[in-house]
């Protein structure tokens, strides 16, 4: 997949689209210097970052009324205080509690992701936003037009699109652009690792964390997929790999589950006892996009920045801790015909596994509290429109 032509935030001489009103408040290009360890944020030239767009996008991101029944915002699954994911769910649920098959991916550093969703089915943030807005088991809006009409009747948005987009109101393009603009600001770097590795602060990492890094880039082979470059590190190859998690879930036999009933109190529950409830939903990963059998049960390599904050892990949230993740990779994943050749038993000692976990915990960016607090500065009202937008819509004369 080709990346969109990128403008870079630092290139302030970039010409704005003709419709822009550079003199309007909040419409000046927004300065966002990439933090240590990250490259400049890729920006599509047709959607320059401005304060007005970012603030508008933030309000949309936090607005629960953007779901059909006014209960789910983007932020209810990508919770700012929970690493912009949900620490409380393995896999998400959507409108009226409908099941979603996969874990909510963090939106930290989503600006750098080339193919979005766990299976890479979307290629720009501007387009991606419409996926959850319209998916019947997520925010479940009946149509694009319905979303736009609803935004038009909510008083908080009166004039804001027009101001941010040179007179253009909410439509399929500007809604996507506003949400994309906000998400592109969720850049988080300058971690202790960055200060040690790129900033050459020798004491920024402990000896154990440094040992973990050497394992990460060496014996454990993690960096084969979670890439580290010479000048920056996305900790992702933006590729898709089969670790066996999806295979096991699809091909495994009914078994037992250890279920926590209360802190320290557990029970074993057989699948058979749950037959009266919803069966697991099929999920064959990237194959659903490419229809290439080689992509069966392959999922996108997630970046690892802020990984200490984004539990649970894997595309299905099946691991609660980083320790469990490291144990899984130490075993070499789960064998299956399409398993990634990168995965093999590692033979790590307990000390080595602990060092790897310590290293992963050093990847937390220095602006996490600020980004979460900024998200809460948008406080859209909770009151839904008095009448359904489909009932009030009238074609403009």
């Amino acid at each position: 997949m080709k990346r969109l032509p990128c403008a870079f935030l630092m290139l302030w001489g970039l010409a704005l689209p003709a419709c822009e009103r550079p003199g309007a408040p909040g419409n000046a290009p927004l300065g966002l210097a990439p933090p240590l360890g990250l490259p400049p944020v890729p920006l599509p030239p047709e959607n320059p970052l401005t304060q007005a767009r970012v603030e508008l996008g933030r309000t949309l991101f936090m607005d629960r009324r953007l779901s059909h029944n006014n209960t789910l915002s983007c932020a209810m699954c990508h919770v700012p205080e929970q690493g912009f994911t949900s620490n409380e769910l393995g896999t998400a649920i959507g409108l009226e509690g409908q099941s979603i098959r996969r874990n909510s991916p963090t939106v930290y550093n989503v600006a750098y992701v080339e193919q979005l969703f766990h299976d890479g089915r979307e290629f720009s943030l501007e387009n991606q936003v419409w996926g959850p807005l319209l998916a019947g088991n997520e925010m479940a809006n009946p149509s694009i037009g319905y979303v736009i009409e609803k935004i038009k009747v909510l008083p908080e948005y009166t004039g804001r699109f027009e101001s941010a987009f040179g007179g253009r109101g909410p439509d399929v393009l500007t809604v996507g652009q506003a949400l994309a603009a906000y998400q592109r600001t969720l850049v988080s770097g300058n971690s202790r690792f960055d200060r040690w590795h790129y900033g050459k602060e020798q004491n920024a990492l402990t000896a154990e964390e440094q040992a973990g890094f050497r394992l990460f880039a060496g014996k454990a082979g993690c960096s084969a997929c979670h890439s580290i470059g010479g000048k920056f590190a996305l900790f992702s190859d933006n590729g898709f790999h089969n670790t066996g998690i999806g295979y096991a879930k699809s091909m495994g036999q009914p078994g037992r589950h250890r279920v926590q009933l209360a802190p320290g109190v557990f029970a074993e529950v057989e699948d058979k006892a749950l037959e009266s409830f919803e069966p697991p939903q099929p999920d064959v990963g990237r194959y659903e996009v490419t229809l290439d059998p080689a992509d069966t049960w392959a999922y996108r390599t997630p970046g690892l920045r802020n990984v200490a904050l984004t539990s649970p892990y894997m595309h299905d949230g099946s691991f609660a801790t980083l320790e469990a993740v490291v144990e899984f990779y130490d075993r070499g994943g789960i064998d299956n015909p399409q398993k990634s050749p990168h995965l093999r038993p590692l033979g790590l000692s307990a000390e080595e596994k602990a060092a790897l976990v310590s290293f992963l915990k050093s990847l937390t960016g220095d602006n996490v509290p600020r980004l979460a607090a900024e998200a809460r500065t948008a406080q859209p009202a909770e009151t839904p429109p008095e009448k359904d937008p489909a009932s009030t819509y009238r074609r403009n004369p």
Binding site: E81, G90, A267, P312, S318, E382
Partner: protein, 453 residues
């Protein structure tokens, strides 16, 4: 265990505190006759001591069943009526919002019903014509005013309605609080559940005891979990960590938490024994299958003890609704997973004994008994996405006669066959409310609707 909290107070709580204080000064529960709920009403709500005429069933709409919308269903339950055991009224609300519990106002002329997903609160006039409830107000500002999600229980206080929600609008987790509205449906105040002193901030039900100037709250789980398919939830290790494990005793005047109790495994319904001289409350924990009794010790401090185990906890029978008799000597406990109701002898609340069990259906949730305990009503639905699927998804209202030894089916209504949906919470009503005299003074106990059985 001692987890005394440092309660919180705010100036805006004063209005409510004053209202409650005034009520306490002028109103007291009777110390003479046993005052039961029937059996889950607020002690401020006048009761029906004799034969109830109507049962309202708060019913969840199901996509593809009838109009698919939530509704309030009215059933005639007077055996002398021509329409005995029949549905006589349906009030469809339009849309599905995960309706759950209802509560009667302090004069029994209004019924408040909440929706755990849409967060709407509906107020029905059930006084003007009890057989034809009329929707008089829909409160849509609950989340805006409180930041809470999932209005659950409605407990009448003098001129007020105490509302206990389950979740919040920040992360749909279990941290929540309590809210107070006035009888007009206007917001008055809200208070967070305590997180100090061992509190987890979770909430669920509340039971008030004006004689002791306390109310007790329990804790369940947030929107993320109560809206999720139960089979999916059980297999989600992270989600299963997010259940309430505490209950809280509050000062009713000041709305301050007095003490946090550790009651692990999702304590649900709260009931006080209203037997004269009794001084205990009870709850059950859904996940750990325990009965817990709250009682003051010799020093007057509230303590809690798990006094019994319900069924086989390893099989997670999921004890859900309970119904205590008016003399506090017996209690029905439903276990959802095996569709069974269990009668417990509570003569000694610290050593209760299960003395009777009966399978009601493939699943059973709510149980409500008449004041005299002779009629016991059951409904099937727990939560829209926790109910069983396929053939086990029976949806019913069933009424049994209880003679102290056995339950004998009087009538049943198939809520799917009637194209209604999932049958959930029930409240009784009388057709003639002319004798209602709520909130009388201590010298004269609150009037009951004393009718011949």
């Amino acid at each position: 265990m001692k987890n005394t909290t440092q309660g919180r107070n705010r100036p805006r709580k004063m209005a409510l505190a004053l209202a409650v204080s005034a009520a306490l000064a002028g109103v007291a529960l009777p110390s003479g006759p046993a005052l039961a709920d029937e059996t889950s009403c607020s002690p401020y709500t006048p009761l029906i001591k004799g034969q109830e005429d109507l049962v309202y069933v708060w019913t969840l709409g199901v996509k593809g069943v009838g109009d698919g919308s939530d509704k309030l269903v009215t059933v005639d339950v007077n055996p002398h009526s021509k329409t005995y055991g029949k549905i006589i009224h349906k009030l469809s609300l339009g849309g599905r919002g995960e309706v759950h519990h209802v509560g009667l106002s302090d004069d029994r002329r209004y019924l408040w019903g909440g929706a755990l997903d849409s967060n709407k609160i509906y107020i029905f006039d059930i006084g003007t014509n009890p057989a034809k409830p009329k929707l008089t107000k829909t409160i849509t500002n609950f989340v805006q005013k409180t930041g809470f999600v999932g209005p659950h229980s409605f407990i009448a206080m003098p001129g007020r309605m105490l509302i206990t929600p389950l979740s919040n609008n920040k992360d749909h987790g279990g941290e929540t609080g309590i809210a107070v509205y006035n009888n007009k449906g206007d917001y008055v105040a809200h208070h967070p559940m305590p997180k100090e002193g061992g509190g987890d901030g979770y909430g669920y039900d509340a039971g008030i005891n004006p004689q002791k100037n306390v109310f007790l709250t329990s804790s369940f789980t947030g929107w993320n979990n109560y809206m999720m398919d139960l089979g999916k939830l059980v297999k989600d290790g992270e989600a299963m960590k997010r259940f309430g494990n505490t209950s809280v005793m509050w000062d009713m005047k000041t709305m301050k938490p007095l003490k946090v109790f550790q009651t692990p495994g999702a304590p649900l319904e709260v009931r006080w024994s209203w037997k004269p001289g009794d001084n205990w409350a009870v709850t059950t924990t859904a996940l750990t299958s325990k009965i817990w009794v709250y009682k003051q010790d010799a020093k007057g401090e509230w303590q809690v003890k798990d006094v019994a185990t319900i069924g086989d906890p390893v099989k997670i029978p999921l004890p859900v609704d309970i119904s205590i008799t008016n003399d506090g000597r017996g209690m029905w406990i439903n276990t959802f997973m095996d569709g069974t109701t269990r009668y417990w002898d509570m003569s000694d609340p610290m050593q209760p004994k299960e003395v009777f069990t009966k399978k009601i259906g493939s699943q059973v949730n709510m149980v409500s008994q008449s004041y005299d305990g002779k009629r016991v009503y059951f409904t099937s639905s727990l939560l829209g996405n926790w109910d069983k699927k396929g053939k086990d998804d029976e949806q019913f209202l069933k009424m049994y006669h209880w003679d102290g030894k056995d339950l004998k089916l009087a009538f049943e209504i198939d809520f799917y066959k009637e194209k209604l949906g999932r049958a959930h919470h029930m409240k009784f009503q009388a057709r003639d409310l002319s004798t209602l005299k709520p909130l009388e003074s201590a010298q004269s106990p609150p009037a009951l609707i004393a009718r011949k059985p």
